[in-house]
Each structure stands twice: as C-alpha cells, then as structure tokens.
C-alpha cells in the first residue's frame, strides 16, 4: 500500500447527523477487538465496497468515507492487510493505545475524512 492509499470506511446511518459522521465511526467499538475494519481503496471502488457491505442483511451503511494510509501512519496506527474475510479487507490497529488516546486519534482521522467528504453516499442517507 502507498501512503496515498485510501482506506474505505463504511459509516452506519445512526452515526450520521445532517451529513456529518461521528468520530466514533473512525475508532473501534469495544467489541471490535481494537481493530477498525476498512477496505483497501487501491483494490476496490467506494460504491462497490458499499454494495458488498450492505449485501449482508445484517449490515447498514449510509455511505463511504476514507482516510489515507499516511494519515494512519501519522497517528502511529498500523494498517494490517489481513485479507479476511475478503481480499481487500484491512484493519487499522488501535490495540497499543488506551481509550482516551484512541478517541484523540479518531478525532484526527474523522476530521481528515470529513474534509475529503463522502466518496459514496447511499440515496436517502441522513
């Protein structure tokens, strides 16, 4: 992956208000084992990633935002190309950090993603 590689993140509809996503969308929830799921933007387009994600009836997404691999590096967050459960899947690893540090890093990633805007937005999303 390059520093400019976009890491695509699905944004849950309940994590969007008036078009703005919460910084929570850019950090793992307690049950995510400290890893944030993203897709490698060099290997898949935002719309295709969204379509695959919502094809699972248990998964909802208002659309796709992204952070750069380099922005994760700047936050000392490792990006793991785990390829599971599908080849484009990656994880941003927050496991070395405590809760407040994770929230601080999520604020950086969130602002950078918001500045980039929606790469794909489902019609009717908030």
């Amino acid at each position: 992956m390059r520093s400019e590689t976009l890491l695509l993140r699905q944004i849950h509809p309940n994590f969007v208000q008036a078009g703005r996503a919460t910084s929570q969308a850019f950090r793992p929830t307690p049950k995510d084992e400290q890893r944030l799921s993203v897709d490698n933007g060099d290997l898949i387009e935002a719309e295709a990633a969204w379509k695959r994600f919502v094809s699972n009836p248990a998964c909802s997404s208002a659309g796709v935002m992204a952070v750069l691999h380099g922005e994760c590096d700047a936050q000392s967050l490792a990006v793991i190309e785990d390829g599971v459960p599908y080849p484009e899947h990656c994880s941003i690893d927050f496991s070395a950090f405590e809760k407040r540090e994770i929230e601080r890093k999520a604020k950086h990633l969130s602002r950078q993603a918001q500045g980039r805007g929606w790469l794909f937005e489902a019609s009717g999303a908030a």
Partner: protein, 369 residues
Amino acid sequence: MNQVFLKPRLVGRRFDEHTLPLEILTDFAALESMLVEVAKREFRQANPSRARIPKGFTKGFELHLTAVESGSAVPVIAIVFPSLLPPSAVDYFEQARDKIIEAIASVELGQQPTLAPELLRYFDRFGRGLREGEAIEFTRSGGQTTALTPAIRERLLRASQAEEWTEEVTLKGRIPEVDQADLTFELELSDGLKLKAPLAEQQRETVLQAFATYREGQIVAVQGVIKRDRAERPKSFESIEHISPLDALDVETRLEELAALPDGWLDGRGKRLDPVALRSLAQAFDDYFDSQLPLPYLYPTAEGGVQAEWSLGDWEVSLEIDLGGRTALYQAVRLSTDQTRERTIDLSLGQKEWGRLNEELWSLGGVGA
C-alpha cells in the same frame, strides 16, 4: 351581586406561580358551554311536563373569573347577576356542576361515568389544554377531591362513544405537499404518516419555505389541535396555532430520534437509549447550554449513551455522556498541535457544571468551523 360557584385547583408546573396561562381559559369557556347543556338536562328531568326549556333560561346571570388564588392556582369562578337574589335557574347550574364533577370522580374510581355520552363529548374541549402531569382538581359535594387529568379526560371521551376527539399537540415533521388552491398542506411525521392541515394566511410563508426545503430535510414544529381516533391514531389537524422551522441540529428533535432506536441499532449491537434520561438531557440542554454557542451534533454510543461533538475551528471536541450516571467525559483536541484538554463533567449538578462546559467551549473560540 355575585356568589362563588366553583373553585377548582390547577396543579402542574405551569400553575406554580399562582397564575393562569391565558390558553387554559378556553377550557373554562368550554366548561361553561357544558354547564349550560347539563343544566338544561337537569331542568327537563325536574320538569317532565314542560315541553321546552324556558326562554331566557341562562339570561340574568353569567359566569365570571373573579380572582386567582394561590395553591397552585385556584381560579375563583362566580355567578354574577344584577338582582339581590340569584335567578332560580342557578339551582340547575349548581346541580350541573355537581354532576360534571361526579362524572370525573366516577371515571377516576374506575366506574362508568354518570353523565349521558353526548354530554361527555364536551370533554373534547374541556380539559384539552391540560398537559402531561397537569390536573384540574374539584371538590365533590361530600368534601373529597377528584381530578381531571389528560388520562381521565381520555377515558371520559372513550365512554362518550365518540369516534374521534381532538387534542392539543406539538408535532414535528416535514412538509412534502402544499395545495394553495385548497389552502391545505401536509405534515409528514418521522414514521411516514401524513396529516392534512389547514393553511392560514399568516403561516403561508413559513409553510412554503419548509415545503421548498423538504429535500434538505427541513423540519418544522407544528403546534395545534389534531383529531385522533379511538385507536389513538392522529387523523388530521383541525387548527394550527404556530409553525416554527427547527434548526437542523435541534437538540430535542435529535434526542427524540435517538430515543426511538431499538436495542441492537448498530447492526445487532448497540444498547437502546433510555427515553426518560434522554428527555431529561434535552431539558438540561434547554435550561443550561449557552444558546450563543453552536449546537452540538449528537450521536448514540454503542453502550447506550450519547456523544455530543463540535468542530470549532482547529478543535475537535467530544462530550461522551453516560445517561445513567449523567457524568460526561469531555475531550477537546487541537488538531494542528495535538494539544488535548480533558475533564469529567457531572451534568447532574445542573447550572454549575453546565456552566463549566459552556466556558470550555467558549475558550476554544465558540465559533463553528
């Protein structure tokens, strides 16, 4: 001359100052209409040989509000008449008053109301102005008290066999349709239900603006009287008092949305947020959050809490609120330098702690990015 006829006691936050809001007076005007009809019924029962009510049955006296006493608020309603002695019809009015009070008491006691169904329909307007937590208390002839509450009013109306009745409400929604020829518009509620409403000239501009910005999600709060059927479904607006466009980040509206999230709202995870705690949080925002500051974006957290966020220039700010304990973790991060400010705020402590939150936000610039 005048003599005291009725001294009901109004209970609820709106009456704590021992005063009456003007809008509740319409309920007492409705009570007067009800008294006239019930008094006529009493006259007919007492005079079965009379084919009709005497002309001028209600002439010669009027019901007046003469004072408002404390406790919370006790309006003093008197019969006013020009002669030394009250007209004889006043007896029937006193009987009517007692019958109405007994009808309320019977329903409160779980019994069938003692008034005829068609007379019970007057409760459509009498008691309509009461809000949740409010009551009008009456003293029964035996000295006990009985209270008309919104719930008792509904039971009286159900007993009246009416197919639908009216309620004063404030509903929020969007305006997808305006019919300028028919002078009506539709209010679309968050569950998709559309209510037809009359379009008054004084509200026309606001309605048309909300209609034009429907696709941008413009929400309006509509205060008025709706018709509701026996299944409690709203049918349409009968009349409208006010229409107010709401800010896209309106706190109360957003917290109402969050209160509707089911358990598992985050793709099977995500705890349900406590609706009572959310209402309390909305009230606290209204009471203590500095109205000059930018409104927060509000999101649910997977643990069943609320996260407020602000983007203030170079600062990203979050306030993670635990709805159970009402404690909140405040974190502000200056993105260019990574400077971080953190503190725990006890929102249950009211003005003082909310004041600290306001100060923190002002210290960051207080202006949205």
